[in-house]
């Protein structure tokens, strides 16, 4: 009886081990492809992206970032930035150019309300306002808080979190630049 159950468990684990070994490569390939796609959205078209993740500590948290170089000079950084949103964590990939100008942003994962906060992933008018957002002249806060970010209708908390994630990313890039010099 116990032997039968053990036997079945062993056979099943062996099968799973085999399938795992077979799918390991495609799974890594799929996640690499997703990352490259996201990087292509938030970074400028010209230049070369290093798909190798680098890490930096900022404000007690570890941030993952990627650099883009043009003729050996770094021109843009993509920072993975996560904050607490309305329904849970909101994780963005933020492309930041020199001088604290946001190039573009992209949502990597969120758990916001469908039809309300979830629009932060799809509503072009909201996402596009971050393209070329110059933090030296504008403030990364929603208008309600005295900043220059137009919030999504009825989703102030999500918009606030989004702006905060972008703002954190800009600060991280500032620190990266300081460390290099």
């Amino acid at each position: 009886m116990a032997a039968c159950l053990t036997g079945v468990c062993l056979v099943c684990s062996a099968i799973l081990g085999g399938v795992y070994a077979m799918t390991k490569e495609p799974i890594e390939e799929a996640s690499r492809k997703a990352l490259l796609e996201a990087l292509a959205v938030v970074l400028p078209a010209e230049g070369e992206v290093n798909p190798e993740a680098q890490f930096i500590e900022f404000d007690g948290k570890n941030y993952e970032y990627y650099v883009q170089t043009l003729d050996t000079a770094v021109v843009c950084w993509a920072v993975k930035s996560a904050v607490g949103g309305f329904g849970g964590p909101l994780t963005l990939l933020v492309g930041v150019e020199k001088g604290g100008v946001v190039h573009a942003t992209r949502v990597l994962s969120h758990s916001e309300t469908p039809g309300l906060g979830a629009k932060c992933e799809t509503e072009a008018s909201f996402i596009d306002q971050f393209k070329g957002f110059d933090t030296s002249v504008k403030s990364l806060k929603v208008r309600k808080d005295g900043g220059d970010v137009d919030a999504i209708t009825a989703s102030t908390i999500t918009s606030r979190a989004y702006a905060e994630a972008v703002s954190n990313a800009v600060k991280v890039v500032k620190k990266i630049q300081e460390e290099v010099q």
Binding site: C12, A82, G88, T113
Partner: protein, 199 residues
Amino acid sequence: MEYFLIIISAIFVNNIVLAQFLGVCPFLGVSSRLSTATGMSGAVCFVITLATVVTYLLNTYLLVPLGLEFLQTISFILVIAALVQMVEIVLKKTSPSLYAALGIFLPLITTNCAVLGVAITVVSKEFSFGGAPHLMNLGEATVYALATSLGYGLAMILFAGMREHLAGNDVPKAFKGLPIAFITVGIMAMAFLGFSGIV
């Protein structure tokens, strides 16, 4: 403070049945009488909390170090099944009265997706309770599991109370039984939506 947020969030805002749709089958199955609903809630509370702690430890100290995360589903369900059996045996020996109250619900719990659902959520999903998003540590996981199962109990007992009243009412024939139950839960879920955003 953080634990307080976890508790409020797990019981009211992200109620396991009304917002996350876990454990709906037993929720509908045993809620026609208040007494059985209470018994089932107790058993579920006990098993979810225990199972989450055990699977959390199993995942952190065995599966992750060995790179065997792909065995999560299969090992978690085995652990849950074994735990339920063990709890049944121990209860039978040590506390016959408690066994008499919870006993008949225990075998049903293995296939209650709330148990496996919470166990998997705790080790795989990042949470942000007022702070930076992170995976839960053991303390947070335990509090989360306990609070979630209390939320399950709350929803179930509230619903059972309403259902007892529904039973005595003149409901159109096509609505009798489960359809009216679903609609009642839908209205309950709408009421619980009011909690969203407080954490």
